[in-house]
Amino acid sequence: MGYVWQWQMIWDYRQVFYRGVEVTAILTFWALLIGMALGLVLGLMRSSRAAWLRVPAAVYIDVFRATPILVQLVWIYYALPILTGVQMGNIASASVGIGLHAAAYIAEIFRAGIASIDRGQSDAAKSLGMSYGQAMRRIILPQAVRRMVPPFINEFATLMKLTTLGSVLAVNELLHEAENLINNTYRPLETYTVVAIVFGLLIYPFIWLSQRLEQHWKTRG
């Protein structure tokens, strides 16, 4: 076919991609921070034997996993201010929305990781006189985290790609910038290809790192 790729034009607009990457990185950073912190708390609550901790966590996790993230984002941006009077900016709304969503999945990763550790480990920790916090921090989580690295990297990659939904809240992340660019240049193929490559470059180092970590732990034993 006679399609003529025009990469020069994309190169001329590289500033647009730099801006997009920056916003995507900011969204990813905050969403991840919120997702991790809340995910850990929810995961621990979900693992608790006490129903008053376990049930609310389970409800949160199920609700966020069973509903579309697009709706969650729109809801946080438009409905939350009406209900609470708190109006967040676009980037903040998107970060919080994606973070709250990711927390549900990260909580499940924590819960499964903790559950995968033999009960004998917490028995041994308790029999030494350790508190719940000491046992979690020193014995259970360090072991659980090793098993959590692969699913966690998965979730990280998913989360970074989910930041493209920020465009529905008019956040100028990578995809949004790219779409604006297409409207000016009519070069969707080149533009989307570059977007894909940039995401790949952003995500791949973490996949590589996780594989190295797994290898390291495997050989140490």
């Binding site: 028995d123 041994a124 029999s127 006189g129 508190s131 719940y132 072991q143 034993g221």
Partner: protein, 257 residues
């Protein structure tokens, strides 16, 4: 002067849901005494041991360790209420526990396993804890394994490391739950030897075991359990020589052949 028992159990009852696992047990353990617990599978031996350091709660009766009620305290009206976490932890730190499956911390070296309790729970300095840990590991024959990870050890070595870990807390009593049941037969002896030397030094020990030789030679008294009850409790000469209960005789006939 009559010495008070270090462990005193009265009317102990424990159930898992509808299942009654311990049905009114009472016994005492004196300081320096070795009590062996024997009995068929499912008779509640592990559960009893886990109640002693409150890894399991119990529904009725009382357990006293060093004169202190385990797991509960009395309110102003004399009713039993759950004890505070910190008080339960203090009691646990005074009782060493050794498990059938060792339960060493796999992400820590042998030395790190042994100093974990002293450093984290008792707040000892790392240097002091390490010095004591090395001496303990020497004593259980693992001086050359301090920097090794548990998965690289044989079962017998793992269990000896686990005993050192428990001893590092300088416990007043040691609880053993079938410490040799997961071991290859040729590795049982090395663990029993360590336990025997502990007993000889006067450590108070409660040992759930299927090693009848150990119970006969090392224990001061033997407790036979069946279906959540104490069937018989007496010196090894009685249990193994002239059991009073036909259930004891029947159990021994089965395990000794």
């Amino acid at each position: 002067m009559i010495e008070k028992p270090i462990i005193r159990v009265e009317g102990l009852r424990k159930n898992f849901g509808k299942l009654e696992v311990l049905r009114g047990l009472g016994f005492e353990v004196k300081r320096g005494e070795v009590l062996a617990i024997i009995g068929p599978s499912g008779s509640g031996k592990s559960t009893l041991l886990r109640c002693l350091n409150f890894l399991e709660d119990y529904q009725a009766g009382e357990i006293h360790f060093e004169e202190q009620l385990v797991g509960y305290r009395r309110d102003a009206k004399g009713r039993l209420k759950p004890d505070t976490e910190s008080s339960i932890r203090r009691i646990r730190a005074r009782m060493g526990m050794v498990f059938q499956s060792f339960n060493l911390f796999p992400h820590k070296t042998v030395l790190e396993n042994v100093i974990e309790g002293p450093v984290i729970v008792r707040g000892e300095s790392r240097g002091a804890a390490e010095a004591r840990a090395r001496a303990l590991l020497e004593r259980v024959g693992l001086a050359d394994k301090v920097a090794t990870y548990p998965t690289k050890l044989s079962g017998g070595q793992q269990q000896r490391a686990a005993i050192a870990r428990a001893l590092a807390m300088q416990p007043a009593a040691m609880l053993f739950d079938e410490p040799t049941s997961a071991l290859d037969p040729e590795l049982v002896g090395e663990v029993l030897e360590v336990m025997q030397s502990l007993a000889a030094e006067g450590m108070t020990m409660v040992v759930v075991t299927h090693e009848m030789g150990f119970a006969r030679q090392v224990a001061d008294r033997v407790m036979m359990m069946d279906r959540g009850e104490i069937v018989e409790l007496g010196p090894p000469s009685q249990i193994f020589g002239a059991p009073e209960s036909p259930r004891t005789a029947e159990f021994l006939r089965r395990v000794l052949h």
